[in-house]
Structures are given as structure tokens and as C-alpha cells.
């Protein structure tokens, strides 16, 4: 019972956002806690508010109810202690080279001097094996390479927590597999804490050591499971983890989903 305090704690968080015509409740009273060096995955079908939840942790959105705290401090605005990696390829600044893109947040937040920032940037560029492209501009890179730069940029800041919003979703399947392996390898090296959003069950099982399952419309916590990364068979039930997740997520009667979409 001697558990350390969580790094990130989300308690009773209800999130709402407005579109032109509706006020939408994205999540309802969600609780979870992320500990240091966790690879925490938010998994759920589209419309379960997982991306909205990540944006709230990023500080772009204030919860209407509940509290999000990082190291005991309530999150009120975006900041470089929570680096985001987005799904979109256009997240790199097109007017900066790969190296400058990684250096920029380090110097902009006055974390490091330009010289130190350059050394650190080069070290992380090496980690994502893009040394040859350090001076290339983003538009000359492929989608997978851009995402690797974005990951290097996030990691170089050595944030308290890395927030990844479906970073591999726009990649082709082969690149995606490779990127997942690379991310795990990087985690082995530096043991960073990551909060990872995905809608893919296999990706959640591969990436996460802890998987939070959310139900849609609005997002509510359904379950929180451990994963060993290899889709292991649970000896008690004789079912694979993926089957278990599938069962939990899709056991609801179908009508509920249909109604909520209107």
C-alpha cells in the first residue's frame, strides 16, 4: 500500500466544448492517474472524448467539473512541461530545419542556451536516426520522418509528460509498426512518461503498460487494464487481452451508439 504519488492525476473531469449549434459533453467524470515512466494509453472508439481529454491535459481546455493536476499543480494553460505530439504532419514549423525545430522550444522556453540546445537537439536527432536530415526543411521529409522529428522535439524538452495524440494514425501500416517499435526502444533508453491516445486496439496493447478504456458519447471510464505488450492470454479466462478489450468496448447494445450520434 506504499504507492508513490501520481505524476498526473485526472479526477472527476467533465469536459464540454461548443460547436456553432451545440454544447457537447465530451467526457463525463473521468478519473485516472499516470505514474512516472508509465506508458499510459487512452483507448476508445471515435467520439469517446480521448483527444479532448488529452487537450485538457495539454491545457488547451478547462474542465467544467473536476481537476487535472501535474505534480500536484493544477493545469491552467499550455506549457512546455507537457509537450504534445500531434497526428498532423504540419505540426513542424515549415520555416525551420529539423534541427532548428527541435532547438526552438528549448531556447524559446529559455531552458537551455543556444549552444546547449543544439547539442541536445543533435543527440535526439541521432536517437530517431535522422542525423543525415538535420539541416533539411520539413517539407522535404516523408510523413514518418516528420513524426520522428516531432517525437524527438517532444523528447528533447524532457517534459514531465509527453502527450501523443494518435501520432501514427496518418502513417501507412508498415511505417506505423516500425514507429511503434522505435518508440518503445526510445522508452527503454530514457523511460519517459507518455500519455498516448489511440483508437487502435493492437497499438494500445503494443505501446501501453496501462490501458484506459473509454465508452463513447460522452466518454466515461469503462476499464483500466495492464498490458505486457504481447497480447498475452489471461490464464483465468483463457482469452487474449485484445479479445477482452474488444469485448469490453463493444458489449454495449448497438442502439446506444446510434442514438448518441444525433
Amino acid at each position: 500500500m506504499d504507492q508513490p504519488a501520481p505524476l498526473l492525476s485526472v479526477s472527476g473531469v467533465t469536459l464540454q466544448y461548443k460547436t456553432k449549434e451545440h454544447l457537447i459533453t465530451a467526457t463525463y467524470r473521468v478519473d485516472f492517474a499516470v505514474f512516472k515512466s508509465d506508458r499510459f494509453v487512452l483507448l476508445g472508439p471515435s467520439g469517446c472524448g480521448k483527444s479532448t481529454l488529452l487537450k485538457a491535459v495539454g491545457g488547451y481546455l478547462r474542465p467544467v467539473e473536476g481537476k487535472i493536476t501535474l505534480k500536484g499543480q493544477e493545469i491552467s494553460k499550455p506549457g512546455p512541461d507537457r509537450m504534445m505530439v500531434f497526428q498532423e504532419f504540419d505540426q513542424l514549423l515549415p520555416w525551420k530545419t529539423v534541427k532548428q525545430n527541435i532547438m526552438f522550444p528549448l531556447t524559446a522556453s529559455s531552458k537551455l542556451s543556444p549552444k546547449e540546445a543544439e547539442d541536445k537537439a543533435m543527440a535526439y536527432i541521432e536517437k530517431v536516426s535522422l542525423s543525415k536530415f538535420a539541416d533539411s526543411l520539413p517539407h522535404t521529409l516523408s510523413g514518418g520522418m516528420k513524426q520522428r522529428v516531432a517525437i524527438a522535439r517532444g523528447m528533447a524538452m524532457e517534459p514531465d509528460i509527453l502527450l501523443m495524440d494518435e501520432p501514427f494514425a496518418a502513417l501507412d501500416a508498415l511505417t506505423r509498426r516500425k514507429m511503434q517499435e522505435e518508440l518503445l526502444q526510445l522508452w527503454q533508453d530514457t523511460r519517459f512518461t507518455v500519455l498516448f491516445v489511440t483508437h487502435s486496439i493492437p497499438e494500445a496493447i503494443t505501446i501501453g503498460n496501462r490501458v484506459l478504456l473509454l465508452s463513447p458519447h460522452p466518454g466515461q471510464v469503462k476499464a483500466e487494464l495492464n498490458s505486457t505488450g504481447d497480447d498475452a492470454v489471461d490464464p483465468a479466462t483463457g482469452r487474449r487481452l485484445s479479445e477482452k478489450i474488444h469485448h469490453i468496448l463493444f458489449s454495449d447494445p448497438v442502439e446506444q451508439k446510434e442514438v448518441a450520434h444525433v
Binding site: P78, Q91, L93, W95, A108
Partner: protein
């Protein structure tokens, strides 16, 4: 026909890639002609020469120096203007006034757009002002300007600011509005706010639109200046290019009128092809934001 066709069975095979040495051409330099036609400069020069040739042929056939002098006569008048009539000082005078008005207009446009992006009311203000004043020809304000600021450069600068401010603000603002949400979130993620956020994220990200605004503003400023000088003549000292054109028209020195127009055109070509093009090549093209 009802029977299903069996799948065709084929053996599997694995190839080993041929060494590059075995190829004929992997990389080959382009011919001189191919490289020439890739040169923007060469293509444009070709168009200019063609236009000059058409001008020359047409006016030689027309043979009426009073209505439309030949290209060579215009060139001669141009040279004469430079040597004898001080065409270059006139052009320099116009350019000086132009640059003063243009830069003041840009500074004001920058202020206005910063106000516009910092609040919704500011954005409404910009939209209202631009929709009110953008369609208003700058030259129509000149009588008022002369009344307020008297004869002199100040009136010209006032109408120049009016002609530059609105199109530049409008373009810059729409550029800011179209910066992708991801880039905005990235900037805020870095903890950038206020002027640093505008300067380091919004301005470079909106640069294609800003550049368009600057080009349009430049053209508007030229038109306004020449028109103002033409209509109201000399405002102080020697007068600029517009006054040069006006004077020569009065004296029926039509080749010199054409020489004055040619100067405007040459300056326009220079600014577009050297200054703006270089700026473009070093920014938006290099960044892959424009092909």
C-alpha cells in the same frame, strides 16, 4: 460458365537488385537549352523582347509619332530624359515619397492586424474599416489631404498610407486567420504568448498571404502616387515621375511621355522580379509553402 475458374498457379521468385553500374543513365546533366528554359529570368526576358518587337513593328507600320512613338524612339527619349531632363532625379523623388508612404502604411497595417488578432472586437474593427475604406480610391482623398496638410509631400504620404494600409491589413489578417490550428497549438505548447507568439509563429506561418499583401500594397502605392502627381501636378520642389509625364504631354513630347511610363514599368519589373522574387525564394518557396 457456372464453373469457377481456378486461380492460376505461378512459381515464386526472388530477384537480386542490379548494381547501378549496369545502368546506362542514372544522372545526366541537362542540355544548355533545357537549362535555359528552366531559368525564370531567361523565359521572362524572352517575353519582354517579344513585346518590344511587337511594339516596334506595330508603331513602324502606324507611323504616327504623336499617337504612339516607336520603341526605339521611346528608348532615345528615355536616354535623352536621363541625360538632359533629369529623369532619374524625378524617379528618385517619386521613389522616396513612395517608400515613405509605403513603410508608414505597413507599420500601421501591422499595428491594426495585431489589434485585430488580439480580440474579437479588434477583428470586427478591422473588418469594418477595411470594408469601408478599401473600396475608396486613394486619389479621391487627395483634395481633402491637400486641405489638411497643404501642398507638399505630407499630402502625398497621407494618400499613399491610405492606399497601402487596407490591402496589406486585409491580407495579413486573412493570413493569420488561416494559420493551421495545429501550428497555433504548437506555439502555445511552447509557452509563447503575445508578441513572441505573433512574431515567431503567426507571421512566418502567414507569410504567403503577407507577401501577397505587400505586393498588392506596392502596386496600389505606385498607381496612387503617379495619379496624384498627374492630377495635381507638382506639390513641392522638382516634382516626380507623374509630373514629368504631365509636363511632356503638355509640350506634346510624346516619346518623353512614353519614356516616363517606361520608367514606371521598369521600376515595377525590377521590384517584382528582383526584390519580391528574392524574398519569395528565400522564404515561402524555400519552406515549401508555395511551389
Amino acid at each position: 460458365m457456372s464453373e469457377m475458374q481456378p486461380l492460376v498457379q505461378r512459381p515464386e521468385f526472388v530477384h537480386i537488385a542490379v548494381a547501378t553500374r549496369a545502368f546506362g543513365v542514372v544522372e545526366k546533366p541537362l542540355t544548355l537549352w533545357e537549362r535555359m528554359s528552366n531559368q525564370n529570368f531567361a523565359r521572362k526576358a524572352f517575353i519582354l523582347i517579344l513585346l518590344a518587337a511587337i511594339w516596334q513593328v506595330y508603331t513602324t507600320i502606324l507611323d504616327n509619332a504623336l499617337l504612339f512613338p516607336t520603341f526605339t524612339a521611346t528608348l532615345a527619349a528615355f536616354w535623352d530624359g536621363i541625360v538632359r531632363l533629369g529623369l532619374l532625379t524625378r524617379a528618385a523623388f517619386s521613389l522616396k515619397v513612395l517608400l515613405m508612404g509605403y513603410s508608414a502604411g505597413i507599420v500601421l497595417a501591422a499595428l491594426l492586424t495585431i489589434i485585430a488578432i488580439s480580440s474579437r472586437l479588434g477583428s470586427d474593427l478591422l473588418e469594418t474599416l477595411t470594408s469601408m475604406f478599401n473600396p475608396l480610391p486613394a486619389i479621391a482623398l487627395l483634395p481633402l489631404a491637400l486641405l489638411w496638410f497643404g501642398l507638399g509631400n505630407n499630402s502625398l504620404i497621407f494618400v499613399l498610407i491610405h492606399s497601402v494600409l487596407w490591402p496589406v491589413s486585409l491580407n495579413t489578417h486573412s493570413g493569420f486567420m488561416s494559420v493551421s490550428n495545429t501550428l497555433r497549438m504548437v506555439g502555445r505548447n511552447y509557452g509563447l504568448t503575445g508578441f513572441r507568439y505573433v512574431g515567431k509563429i503567426l507571421i512566418p506561418a502567414a507569410f504567403p498571404s503577407i507577401l501577397t499583401g505587400l505586393k498588392i500594397g506596392w502596386a496600389f502605392a505606385w498607381r496612387t502616387l503617379i495619379a496624384a502627381e498627374l492630377v495635381f501636378g507638382v506639390s513641392s520642389g522638382s516634382g516626380g515621375l507623374g509630373w514629368f509625364i504631365y509636363e511632356n504631354k503638355n509640350q506634346l513630347e510624346i516619346p518623353s511621355v512614353f519614356a516616363g511610363l517606361l520608367t514606371v514599368i521598369l521600376i515595377g519589373l525590377f521590384v517584382e522580379n528582383f526584390i519580391f522574387r528574392t524574398l519569395e525564394a528565400r522564404t515561402v518557396r524555400k519552406w515549401g509553402m508555395q511551389s
